[in-house]
């Protein structure tokens, strides 16, 4: 062993005197012999070559990771459309009183069921309320319900799934059987019973819808954690002494984000509709609160004669989901350094 090293060091010395180029990997002079006779002969090293090339001043300015993500997101046109839609929606939610032409509760019983006109851009409903104004005010509630309900199920479900998938064994069994019980009950039925026991109201609806969709997230996260936790880079992290918290948050979660983002963006739509369903049976928002889902179900009775009562709230929901999906897809790609361009 010792002699081998010495021989090699001599060769390295010779190499060092060679003019070395940047990429030395396929240097013709340093070809390796493969016959077993020469296997003991030292194989010339090109290590020093690369070392010396590294002495060149390198561009070491590290851009912040989030700036990098933003830069990549900007290149994705679809994502920017999504971001634009979501921004508009959020702005209209914030500035509703200034944007909306009427108050959401202004009734004009002489002008009920009006088709879209210059006066009422999207028509009026059965109480003569301006649908456009109600949609603008409704974005406040619908967006909040969508985001908060999804956040609840994402955080709780994600945590349960991550723990179950990472630790496995008995803990996994206990958690997932609990999730199975939740799954066995249709989610809308579950939401109904939760709201029924907590009482109607905005907060309780969000909690109910959030809890009802926990199983989906728990199962998605568990599945991706299981596929990732046995990879070697997890073992490598453990070998350097990383604890479970760090392994889950730094190594497993970033690698299992993609399906979560997709499910999360779709989940917002589901949450809005579930909340609407609850409103429909009288457990959700009480009239006259403007809420897209509630408007949709209210207009359902008149759908044959007055299309505009259902179409516009429906379009509002659709646009939101569309924007979120575009943004979500873009985010998923921007967060993945493998797709860097």
């Amino acid at each position: 062993m010792q002699e081998k090293h010495e021989e090699k060091l001599v060769l390295d010395q010779e190499l060092r005197d060679d003019p070395v180029k940047e990429d030395q990997h396929r240097h013709p002079e340093h070809q390796i012999h493969h016959d077993s006779q020469t296997i003991d002969a030292p194989i010339e090293s090109t290590v020093n070559a690369t070392v010396s090339s590294a002495m060149k001043p390198a561009n070491q300015k590290k851009r912040s990771q989030w700036l990098e993500v933003w830069r990549r997101l900007k290149q994705n046109k679809a994502a920017m459309v999504g971001l634009f839609i979501i921004t508009i929606l959020i702005l209209s939610a914030i500035f509703a009183p200034w944007i909306a032409p009427y108050h959401y509760d202004d009734q004009d019983l002489l002008r009920t069921f009006q088709s879209p006109s210059r006066e009422h851009l999207l028509g009026t409903d059965n109480f003569g309320r301006d649908i456009l104004s109600r949609i603008i005010y409704g974005s406040r509630i619908s967006l909040m319900v969508g985001f908060i309900a999804v956040s609840i199920s994402l955080i709780v479900g994600g945590f349960l799934g991550a723990v179950a998938g990472y630790y496995g064994g008995r803990l996994d069994n206990i958690i997932m059987r609990g999730i199975d019980i939740l799954m066995a009950i249709p989610s809308i039925l579950l939401a109904i019973s939760i709201v029924a026991s907590l009482g109607p109201g905005l907060r309780n609806v969000m909690i109910a819808v959030g809890i009802a969709t926990i199983p989906t997230y728990a199962r998605i996260v568990r599945a991706s954690v299981i596929t990732i936790k046995d990879q070697e880079f997890i073992e490598a992290a453990r070998a350097v002494g990383a604890n479970d918290m760090r392994i889950i948050s730094k190594h497993i979660m970033p690698n299992s984000l993609a399906p979560l983002i997709v499910q999360g963006t779709l989940g917002v739509a589901n949450a809005i509709l579930s909340a609407a369903g609850l409103s429909f049976i009288g457990l959700g928002f009480q009239p006259p609160t403007p809420e897209w889902g509630a408007m949709l179900s209210q207009g359902r009775q008149y759908i044959r004669d007055y299309w505009h009562m259902t179409t516009f709230p429906g379009l509002a929901i659709m646009t939101t989901i569309f924007g979120l999906n575009l943004l979500g897809d873009g985010l998923r790609d921007a967060l993945d350094p493998r797709l860097k361009n």
Binding site: H25, I43, A49, V51, G241
Partner: protein, 323 residues
């Protein structure tokens, strides 16, 4: 005489499977001296990698002792073990799977430093990362790239840099070159030997490739189905192997000569299942020299000559037969 850095005594690792108890590592005894490379060879599935991982406590041993610098690390608790990990590191086989695809090179190399809170200041850490990149021959301009942008050889250099970050004394090399092109294999092997000379590292070099092991090892341990069948100096094992399995293994190395008179020992039969293995020699079913005693009693690893350990009842008798 050389000082032992690490010694495993009666090390066992059993896995519970649906079919029964899988004896992945069964009663392994081995030691590694300071500054040397112990090559661990054997066919796929014989428990080489498991042995390496058990030694680092990445897998918990079922039974046995692991002595590292005079202390049995199997008795360590979590915190002690975390400190201990700074002394012993691992380089993985697959440089594609062993690097987190979402971390940049600098994040990967600095992870051991961050986890163990080695540096307070970010600039110190940055400097150390650059130093490590120089050490393993990675151009500094790659510091903010991601693993997928690099080739296998460069990725493996990252893996090595990560293993070196905490200045360990002992590194398990788990088939570090078997996923690489032959030309790059040579670079990586030489890099490892350079690093060993520079930092006085001790290696456990796991491989199924005898010519690679021959190139880097001082001593060689041959493993068959969870057991060490032969352990000795690199010269003696290649000149006159004592265990019938080692003999067969060495005869399988191709000789690039037209007039080769080397006789090949072709092993017959399959490797028996490591699940609930019967008593007796593990190699019994495939051995040319088997006798009744081999079936009845498991041969112990015994010291036949100084520094030569063989687990075969007939090692002495077989010796003259093999050249």
């Amino acid at each position: 005489m050389a000082e032992k850095l690490l010694e495993a005594k009666n090390l066992k690792k059993y896995f519970h499977t649906k079919k029964g108890l899988l004896h992945a590592v069964d009663d392994v005894n081995l030691y590694i001296n300071k500054g040397e490379t112990l090559g661990l060879v054997g066919e796929s599935g014989c428990g080489k990698s498991t042995t390496g991982r058990v030694l680092l406590r990445l897998l918990e041993a079922t039974a046995g002792e692991i002595w590292f610098e005079g202390e049995n690390i199997l008795t360590y608790n979590k915190d002690q073990m975390r400190k201990m990990r700074q002394e012993m590191q691992i380089v993985f086989q697959d440089p594609f799977a062993s690097l987190n695809p979402r971390m940049s090179i600098s994040e990967i190399i600095s992870e051991p430093l961050v986890v163990n809170k080695v540096y307070r200041a970010k600039t110190d850490m940055q400097q150390r990362v650059e130093e490590l990149m120089d050490t393993v021959g990675l151009a500094r301009r790659l510091i903010n790239t991601y693993p997928h942008e690099l080739d296998g050889g460069r990725r493996q250099r990252i893996g090595i840099a990560r293993a070196l970050a905490l200045k360990p004394k002992f590194i398990v090399q788990d088939e570090p070159v078997s996923a690489l092109d032959v030309s790059i294999q040579a670079q990586i092997l030489n890099l490892m030997m350079d690093l060993q000379a520079e930092f006085g590292l001790t290696y456990l070099f796991i491989s199924h490739d005898l010519s690679v092991v021959k190139h880097v090892s001082n001593r060689i341990a041959v493993m068959y189905l969870g057991k060490i069948v032969e352990l000795s100096e690199y010269n003696s094992i290649f000149k006159d192997p004592l265990h019938p399995y080692t003999q067969a293994l060495l005869s399988a190395i191709p000789v690039p000569s037209l007039h080769s008179s080397k006789e090949k020992i072709i092993l017959e039969g399959d490797i028996p299942s490591p699940i609930n293995p019967p008593d007796g020699c593990r190699f019994y079913g495939r051995c040319q020299h088997r006798q009744e005693i081999c079936k009845a009693t498991t041969p112990e690893l015994r010291e036949l000559e100084p520094e030569r350990y063989v687990a075969c009842h007939f090692a002495k008798e077989l010796k003259p037969a093999s050249v």
